[in-house]
């Protein structure tokens, strides 16, 4: 609790401790990742972790900061992926397809939010679940546009500024840039006065209303921001796989991302990233040994909710605080 400047050390040393040092090291490790990873298979997994982390951040903005659990986000994600794929198939360039993907997703998210925000809490969850399934059904059945179960393929990845993203390493760096951008956006968003207002609507909607905040508008804008992050993740996903099928819109996909947020810790920025890493690694490792990933996913879901309900990041912070708690009979300061 008293982590103030330690006397006798220079300001620079104090600045370069704790969180900042960890952040710097993490950034360095991410920037140099292709160098210390044993092969492109692992670099690809790192790319997956990063774009799923962006997706998880999108859910976390609503779930952790807004108290709104969306179980249909894979549907929104799917809107982006299909828009990009269809636009590319229709002969548009990559820039146009990406912009179109973001635009259509935001428009879709606006409709999604207006419908779902008529309810909060469990009602919101049920409506988003139904909306997500409807979007899945659309992708599955609207064969003339989506090619149904066979999905759509993308001919190529884009080459921004003439740099081809075809290789694993190049794509990883592109993903890293988008990830850092999204993380920065999310950090600015949740620490802004607007983020505080959003947390206010989560905890005390009636009081926020009394204070003159338009609770619906705050939530609606948060949904749009979440839609933007979802679109960014979707664009990375569809270019990473160069393929999109209704599988990506299934309820399992939505639930996987919610699991990332819950397991890592909702309402934190680090939690969804840790959760994304956990789920993606587990999925890749588990699928090498067992066929039953969904069973494991369900079991992890149940176990985490029952045993570590606050998520791994806040959970380990709690354990860390507990381990470092002052010891003494009267609860006073530990002897130096």
């Amino acid at each position: 609790m008293t982590d103030l400047a330690v006397p006798g050390k220079s300001a620079a040393v104090v600045w370069f401790t704790g969180r900042r040092a960890a952040l710097g090291l993490a950034l360095l490790a991410l920037a140099l990742l292709p160098l210390w990873m044993p092969g492109s298979y692992y670099v690809n997994i790192a790319s997956q972790i990063l774009f799923y982390a962006v997706f998880a951040l999108a859910i976390d903005v609503l779930l952790g900061y807004g108290g709104l659990v969306s179980l249909g986000h894979a549907g929104v994600f799917g809107i982006t992926c299909y828009t990009v794929a269809v636009a590319l198939g229709a002969g548009y360039g990559h820039v146009a397809a990406i912009l179109l993907g973001i635009g259509v997703t935001l428009a879709g998210m606006a409709v999604y939010a207006v419908v779902a925000l008529r309810a909060t809490g469990i009602g919101f969850l049920m409506i988003t679940l139904a909306l997500g399934q409807i979007l899945w059904g659309l992708a599955y059945r609207w064969i003339s546009v989506t090619n149904g179960d066979n999905g759509l393929s993308l001919a190529s990845r884009p080459a921004p500024f003439g740099l081809s993203l075809a290789s694993a390493n190049a794509f990883y760096y592109a993903t890293l840039v988008v990830f850092l951008l999204s993380l920065a956006l999310a950090a600015v968003f949740v620490h802004s006065p607007f983020g505080a207002a959003l947390r206010g609507t989560r905890d005390q909607p009636a009081r926020m209303n009394a204070l003159g905040f338009n609770v619906f508008l705050v939530r609606f804008l948060a949904c749009l921001f979440s839609g933007l992050l979802t679109a960014l993740a979707g664009i990375l996903f569809v270019y990473y796989n160069q393929f999109i099928s209704p599988q990506a819109l299934a309820l399992t996909a939505s639930a996987e991302v919610v699991l990332m947020v819950i397991s890592g810790g909702a309402g934190t920025l680090l939690g969804p990233i840790v959760g994304a890493a956990l789920v993606v690694i587990m999925k890749n490792v588990a699928s090498a040994y067992i066929v039953r990933w969904n069973f494991l996913l369900g079991a992890i879901f149940v176990a985490i909710v029952v045993f570590v309900p606050e998520g791994l990041v806040p959970g380990s912070v709690r354990l860390w605080r507990w381990a470092r708690r002052p010891r003494g009979k009267s609860g006073g300061k530990a002897a130096p």
Binding site: M126, R141, V305
Partner: protein
Amino acid sequence: MNQNLILAINSITLGGLLFLLSAGFSLIFGLMRIPNLTHGSLFMLGAYLGVTFAVWYGLNFWVAAVLAALVVAAFGGVIERFLLRRLAGNQLAQVLVTLGIAFMIADFCLMVWTGDPITVETPRQFVGVVRAGDLVFPIYRLVIILIACLFAAALWLLLDRTRLGAMIRASVDDPQMARVVGIRVSRLFTLVFCLGAALAGFAGVIGAPILSVYPGLDFDMLPLALVVVILGGTGSLLGSFLGSFVISFLYNYGQAHFPELAYFVLFLPMVIMMLVRPQGLFGRVAP
């Protein structure tokens, strides 16, 4: 035969099944405020169990249906007692646990009954059709409609005309006050959960000759039940009843006339309802 008439009969049949499914869902939601996301899975589990009892063990279809309903009810009771009860008051956790269990059931069924769809024969005594003038009705579909109506009447009597029903309604309205006057609310929770599960499992079995049983049946049925409850209002039997038929008509006609947009057709009534009357047709505004 007139295509519209076939569609209408199919819609009413599906509506009957949907009612059995969504009535339990709506009751559980009304009583415990848990959207039980395992409900579609209980439907599928019931269907698989019924098929197993009827085809593999050669039991009478109806005996198999009741047996499957009982097993599913017991399973529901276990979920309620040992998982949901531990998380009382934490709705989000309860939802996520039911979702996790739904995935586990789906994978379990895939493991035991493989991925191939199983078709079920119509029970022998109900094969055939009834003719009325130019109109032809398949008997089994009429039987399902009849069963759904019987269950609707029985549930209404149970909830509206018995002491148990009064206790359930009291616990829905004000669980704390109900406890004060000596109603064992938590026991009622388990009972209602088992009842809802049994209805879902039973619907799964009697629906099997029409829908067949296949992996993914669970998440085909769950959104339909959700939309029914959103439309009809939670905790309302009448809402589930009417909502089931509206949704099944829309779904069947949508599939026949706009096969590519069948799911999207479901979206419209939901949007209109959310915009006009967010609590649903017969739902009450949450306190």
